[in-house]
Structure formats: C-alpha cells, structure tokens
C-alpha cells in the first residue's frame, strides 16, 4: 500500500499521527512511524506540505504548528472561545472578604478603601479590590479630597445587571442592626479604646474639608 504512492501515504500517516497525539511529536518520533528509513529532510518537507494543505483548506479548523518539543495540530486560536465552552471550570466562589467588601461598596458607596477597612476592622487586600474591578462590578468614581486622595469606589451597572437588579434601591433593605438595642453595644463600647470609634466614617472623614 505504501509502495505506489509513497510520499502521499506518508503524509496521511503523519497527519493521523499528529491528529491523534495529545503531545507534540518530535522529528525522531515521527521517523519511528515508518518501517523504512526516512530522511529527516523528507519529513520536514512533508510537514511543511501538510501545514500548507491545512492552511489552504476552505473553512479550516486546525493548524499544524511547530513548538518547542515538536509538531502538533492545534485548533485555530479564534475557535478557543467556542471550545472552552465545553469544559468550563467550575465557577468558584468569592472569599468572605471579597463579599463583604462588595457589600460595603454596594450599600455605602462611594467609599474609600479606608472606609472599608474601618468597617470591616481589617486591612483590605488590594487583590480583593482588583478582583471586583476586573469583574467590572466596582469602579473608581472619584477621589476623596483628603491627604492621599484615596479612590472612591462604587458599584457599576454591570453589577446591577449581573445581580438582576434595576437599581441599588432593589437591594434588600438592611436596617436590622439599627433595630438592635444598645444593650450589647454598650458593653463593647466600654471596652473599646478611649478614642471613640469612628461612628460614621464618611461624615467623619469629610470634617476636614
């Protein structure tokens, strides 16, 4: 079978080998495909031809490329968005810190990082802010006019869209903690340092301007 049309048949074997191999094939590996001795130059020529054959294909899906460890067929980059839909990695969840940061920005916007830190009582990881910005759920709407001019964050339209809200007013009302009587707070306030806690962080910070 390989006799009559040797070179074409070799190309067919090469194509099948490259399409069925999950790893790039080196020239040495490809030489192993054939019982008879094949020159490396011949192989290179066949690979080039194969590459061109696929490029010349009308409505093509794959390309033959040379990478570090050899040659491989790969899907055209523009198809990746489709192919990636096959195996979406499981959506993960935001960390508690990210969710709380988001909640503060949603309910108290516009706020600075300092505001968030004050409310949560811990430093805000810059990655958390970046994560939410990359999602296009928050953005910077200005700077507060205090030393350092910290960015003011607010939620975006995308945030509303993604949570299926028409406006922030659709967020559940959250008055619960006002309901809570002072009783337990007082105890805590007593134990707080002498510097009284910043009651309303926003009001507080503007006092200077």
């Amino acid at each position: 079978m390989m006799e009559s049309n040797n070179v074409s048949q070799m190309k067919v074997v090469l194509e099948a080998a490259l399409l069925t191999s999950p790893n790039p094939l080196s020239l040495d590996e490809m030489l192993r495909l054939f019982p008879e001795r094949v020159e490396r130059a011949t192989l290179r020529m066949l690979l080039d031809e194969l590459k061109q054959d696929w490029q010349a294909r009308n409505l093509n899906s794959m390309e033959l490329v040379q990478v570090a460890s050899g040659w491989r067929f790969q899907a055209l980059p523009e198809l990746a968005p489709f192919l990636s839909r096959l195996n979406p990695d499981r959506p993960h969840r935001y960390s508690r810190a990210a969710m709380e940061t988001l909640a503060i920005i949603a309910y108290r916007q516009p706020v600075t990082r300092g505001d968030i830190e004050e409310l949560r009582g811990v430093a805000v990881n810059p990655n958390t802010i970046r994560q939410l910005q990359e999602r296009d759920w928050i953005d910077v709407v200005g700077q507060r006019d205090v030393p350092g001019r910290p960015s003011l964050y607010a939620t975006t339209k995308t945030f509303l869209d993604d949570l299926n809200l028409k406006s922030l007013a659709d967020l559940p009302e959250m008055e619960t903690f006002l309901e809570q009587p002072f009783s337990e707070d007082e105890v805590i306030l007593e134990s707080a340092p002498e510097t009284p806690p910043q009651v309303d962080f926003i009001d507080n910070s503007d006092a200077s301007s």
């Binding site: 968005p81 709380e100 916007q109 700077q143 003011l152 009302e173």
Partner: protein, 266 residues
C-alpha cells in the same frame, strides 16, 4: 513438548479443527514439567471437558460418561501432584462426573425415562460455557481503542475562561449582615432604602462629574423623566456629596447658574 511451552495462551487454541489443539498430546501422557504449561491453557474444568469432548469427537448431547470421566480423571490425577490449588475446581468436577456416571448405571424406571437425564445439567453448563468462550474470543477480536484504534486528540489552547464566581443576592446580603454585625460593635448606621438610593445617586453624580469635569446643577436633574421622589433623592445626594466634601458647589452670583465639580482643592 517445546511446542507446548512456546504456544501462547491463544484464544483460538481450543478449536478442535484448529492447529493449536493438534499440537496437544493425543494420549494421556504428558511429561510432568509440561503439564503445568498445558493446564495453563485451560480455563478450568469445563474448558478441559470441552477439549476432551471435541478431541475425542464425543457427542455432547449424548456424552459417553464412562469414557469422558476416564479421560478427565487421567488429567486430574496428573494435575494433583503439581497444581493443588487449581485442582480444587477440577476435583469438584471429578466428583460430579462420577456421580453422573453412577446415576446412569442405575436401572431407570421406564416412566421416568424421558424425565431427567443425569447429564442434562452438565451439558447445559458446557454449552453455556462454550458460548461465552466463543463470545470472549470474538470480543477480543474487536478493534480496541488504543490498540487498533487511535482517537483524535489534537491540542487546543484552553483559554482558562476564569469563570467569574456566581453571586446571589442572598450572598451579598449575608456578607453585608456580617459587616453590620461586626461594625455594630462600634458604630450605628441607619441603612435604609432611602439612604441607599441617595448613595446610588451620589455615585452616579460623581461619575458624571468625572466625565464632564464641571456640570450645571440643573443638568443633574432629569426633570422630564423622573418623578418627584427621584428628584428629591438626587438633590439629597448632591447635598450629601457636598457635606462629605466630595463635590464643590459654586455660584458666581445670586441667581446665576450653580456649578458642581469634583472637589480637587487642596
């Protein structure tokens, strides 16, 4: 006998008219060292019985039990010395064969004649095993992925589509509740619907100012499309922005336009 040793455990070998089987000894004599190899070729007593039946051209539907038992026992005796653990299954079969043989020797009352041939169960098992054995051979002849079939497995650049986490309203509310619970230790906020929409407007106004740098006060109100409550909220937002020092409100003279701009004074 070296033929036996090199003979693979071929799936075809039990075929009576196949070549594999003809190389097996025609009599019962097997050199002890070859016996092990020989027995390895059988998948158990049923397999050995099938071999004997076909080797001696016995009629499976009318098995001469005396002959078959004699043949079978001959192998098993030789086997016993070498492969004791294997012999258990084979011994069980010996007992069964002898039992069948002895039952057949008993005089049968005529009326029961057509009822139970003592061999029936053995024949049924032999036939069923034979069928499976043949099926196994055919299965093995089917092309297998990885052996005879190579499936496509080319590469594609998996754009790790960073699947954004899903956030439900409940998650957000829960997070906010957490914040409030903790913040309640040192702060008291009134957070209500009205205030929230004020804050939303604050963000919106800041966005507009960021874009336009300076805007006329009236430009912030969409009087035609928004109802009174919204206009009020917008106004409150402007006041709040001013109070928080986020915007600067200027007016050159009385009754002249009021301008808002982001507070950038230092």
């Amino acid at each position: 006998m070296t033929v036996l040793v090199t003979e693979p455990k071929s799936h075809l070998e039990p075929r009576l008219h196949g070549e594999a089987i003809t190389s097996l000894p025609h009599d019962l004599y097997i050199p002890p060292d070859a016996l092990e190899v020989y027995l390895d070729a059988f998948e158990g007593p049923l397999d050995l019985l099938l071999y004997l039946i076909r080797k001696h051209n016995l009629d499976i539907l009318d098995i001469p039990m005396a002959e078959l038992t004699r043949q079978y026992m001959g192998y098993v005796e030789k086997m016993q010395a070498i492969k004791l653990e294997l012999a258990a299954d084979y011994l069980l079969m010996s007992a069964m064969l002898i039992e069948i043989k002895s039952r057949m020797l008993l005089p049968k009352p005529t009326e029961v004649e057509s009822e139970d041939d003592p061999r029936a169960e053995l024949v049924r098992r032999l036939m069923e095993y034979e069928a499976i054995k043949l099926a196994a051979q055919k299965l093995d002849e089917l092309p297998q992925v990885g052996v005879d079939l190579m499936v496509a497995n080319a590469y594609f650049e998996q754009i790790v589509q960073v699947q954004a986490p899903q956030v439900a309203m409940e998650d957000l509310v829960a997070a906010w509740q957490n914040v409030l619970k903790r913040a309640s230790h040192f702060a008291h906020h009134k957070v209500g619907k009205a205030e929230l929409s004020v804050r939303e407007h604050m963000s919106q106004i800041l966005r507009k100012l960021k874009e336009h740098n300076m805007l006329e006060f009236s430009a912030l109100f969409d009087v035609e499309n928004e109802g009174i409550p919204k206009l009020v909220v917008c106004f409150l937002a402007i006041l709040e922005l001013a109070r928080e020092g986020l915007v600067k409100i200027t007016q050159q003279a009385a009754f002249t336009p009021i301008y808002l701009q982001i507070n950038q004074s230092n």
